[in-house]
Amino acid sequence: MTAATDTTGAATARPARRGRRRLLGVFMVAALAALAAVVFSVGFGRDPSVVRSVLINRPAPPLHGATLDGASLDLRSYRGKIVLVNVWASWCAACRTEHPVLAATQRGYADRGLQIIGVDMSDKLPDARRFLTEMGGVTYPSVQDPNAQIAISWGTFGVPETYVIDRTGMIREKAVGAVTTGWVIAHVVPLLAAS
């Protein structure tokens, strides 16, 4: 008799516990679904090939060396100008697309205190010179960087990349891929106007 009542007691307690556990499971599944949705949507909404540079709003790393013409160049002597540092290579197709934009920017804004400096990364000197001849001549100097050591010290992911350095020598902006006139107007012209 006592055994019988014990059985019924245990029988009612167990399903209740099981129900609670099931409810907890439902909650966990819902929470996981929501988490997965958020993770996926954030991931899909971002361009995985673009990583925001950690150097933005930091002082520009050193940049000095021999230019393609053999002269020596040091970024420090351009303090007081808005400098665009453009990492390029003759073997890069996007660099060919953006070069007219950069050349026009140099020509158009030189009198407003703009200077473009090229970093010719992992390139051969004759190839680089031929590239510039095809592009209509040298508009701004480029430093030789045959082993990509300068590019690495600037945190370059690939070519082309363009850094905007303000008059105090701080990196203010970075473009990954070919720059356009729109980008120049949006990110460079305001800095020129600010002084």
């Binding site: 819902a30 949507s41 890069c92 990364m121 891929g177």
Partner: protein, 417 residues
């Protein structure tokens, strides 16, 4: 009982052996047994760094020029006496934590390290619980079997019982009769009792209505209410469990849809610098361009087809490809003002402002006070280094002071935007 204890002891031994082996392996890996060369140390560092240009390759494995440069940098710094951590620090200062293949052991990084073992532990606990819960009809706990025996000794009316319990009860009676006839059938009784215990576990029978010493009416009504309530909430929970997966799937799809629509919707169509590397040419509107190019083949004498193709190329940043198509439009219809304006702007941007001025001359004669023409004229003059550029751009600001390009023009003129 003794067999069970032996099994448990063996299990503990196996677990201890696995843990010992793992610890020994880790110890062995952490303490190099011999002096390693500079190159080996460099490779060890390179394996922890991510190649910036490629996807999912370490610097040690990548053939890209930047990775080659990074390998040089690592070897040079090691030779100069830098530690692996210092070298990794040099790269993270330039590329951020992104450059490390292992997530950093701090902040959110800890979560990534702690989650796998935690989930493994959780999984193990769940597995243990599941294994401990006996499958119905077999291997029940002794107290459940005892309860089942008590239940069989004093069963409620068969009609009130759930079908599996009633069936198990009938089986038990049959087995008992069989055992009475043949003592060898005692095992059958044991199995039937276990099956009944399992059936009772799955379909609990809450009360025996034919109990002789029934409690007074009020109390039993209260018990009945409680049981009804209990079974109702159980039903609700059961339903919730059944709908959990579809609801979770819907929730997932809905949330993903909404957030994706938002993030993708805010991206301007055909936007440029999106970070395509040299290996991936920047053609954001490839299929659209192909369709427009096809349009020029289908209607080679329609200036609008050529203009549409030229405009799309221009917007995609392919200035050199756009130019001949603008010229083709103008050859078919020299009076096309839009093509003339766009080509002039392209020439100004592309470094041929003098050509742009020639292009704009007829427009300047036809519409001398059109702000758009004045703006293009001013920008081309500025590009060509002509002194009247400032006057032209000022005239533009007077004609259209509130236009979108006005702040940019003010910036060009050196005024506050």
């Amino acid at each position: 009982m003794t067999r069970q204890r032996t099994r448990r002891l063996l299990g503990a031994f196996a677990a201890a052996a696995v843990v010992l082996l793992a610890v020994a392996g880790a110890w062995h890996a952490a303490t190099p047994s011999r002096t390693v060369s500079l190159h080996e140390r460099a490779v060890a560092v390179e394996r922890t760094l991510r190649c910036p240009t490629c996807q999912g390759l370490s610097v040690a494995d990548s053939p890209s020029p930047i990775a080659a440069g990074m390998r040089q940098q690592v070897e040079r710094r090691l030779a100069a006496g830098a530690s692996s951590a210092q070298i990794r620090g040099y790269f993270t200062a330039r590329y951020g934590d992104w450059i490390l293949l292992d997530p950093p052991r701090r902040g959110v990084g800890w979560l990534v390290w702690a989650l796998p073992p935690l989930l493994l532990l959780l999984g193990g606990l769940l597995l243990r619980r599941t294994l401990r819960r006996r499958p119905s009809g077999t291997a029940n706990a002794p107290e459940d079997v005892a309860a089942a025996a008590a239940f069989a000794a004093d069963p409620p009316i068969a009609a009130d019982l759930p079908e599996p319990v009633a069936a198990a009860l009938t089986d038990l009676h049959a087995a008992r009769i069989g055992a009475d006839l043949d003592p060898a059938g005692q095992g059958g009784v044991h199995d039937a009792l276990a099956r009944l215990a399992g059936a009772l576990y799955d379909h609990p029978v809450t009360a025996a209505p034919t109990q002789p010493a029934a409690p007074d009416a009020g109390e039993s009504a209260a018990v009945d209410d409680a049981q009804r309530l209990g079974s109702a909430s159980r039903r609700v929970r059961g339903r919730a469990a059944r709908y959990a997966l579809p609801v979770a799937a819907l929730l997932f799809a809905g949330l993903l849809g909404v957030t994706l629509a938002r993030t993708i919707g805010t991206r301007p169509a055909g936007a440029v610098p999106t970070g395509h590397f040299a290996t991936a040419p920047p053609t954001p509107s490839g299929p659209g361009l192909a369709a427009l190019q096809h349009g020029t083949h289908a209607h080679p004498t329609d200036p609008r087809a050529w203009l549409a193709y030229a405009t799309a190329l221009d917007q995609a940043g392919r200035l050199a490809a756009a130019e001949p198509n603008y010229r083709k439009t103008l050859a078919l219809d020299p009076g096309d003002a839009a093509a003339r304006e766009q080509l002039a702007w392209l020439l100004t941007r592309g470094g041929s402002p003098t050509d742009a001025l020639t292009m704009l001359a007829p427009l300047a004669r036809q519409r001398p006070d059109d702000p758009q023409v004045v703006l293009l004229l001013g920008l081309a003059q500025r590009g060509a280094g002509q002194p009247q550029a400032t006057a032209t751009l000022r005239r533009y600001l007077r004609l259209a002071p509130g236009s979108t390009p006005a702040p940019m023009v003010r910036a060009l003129l050196g005024r506050a935007p």
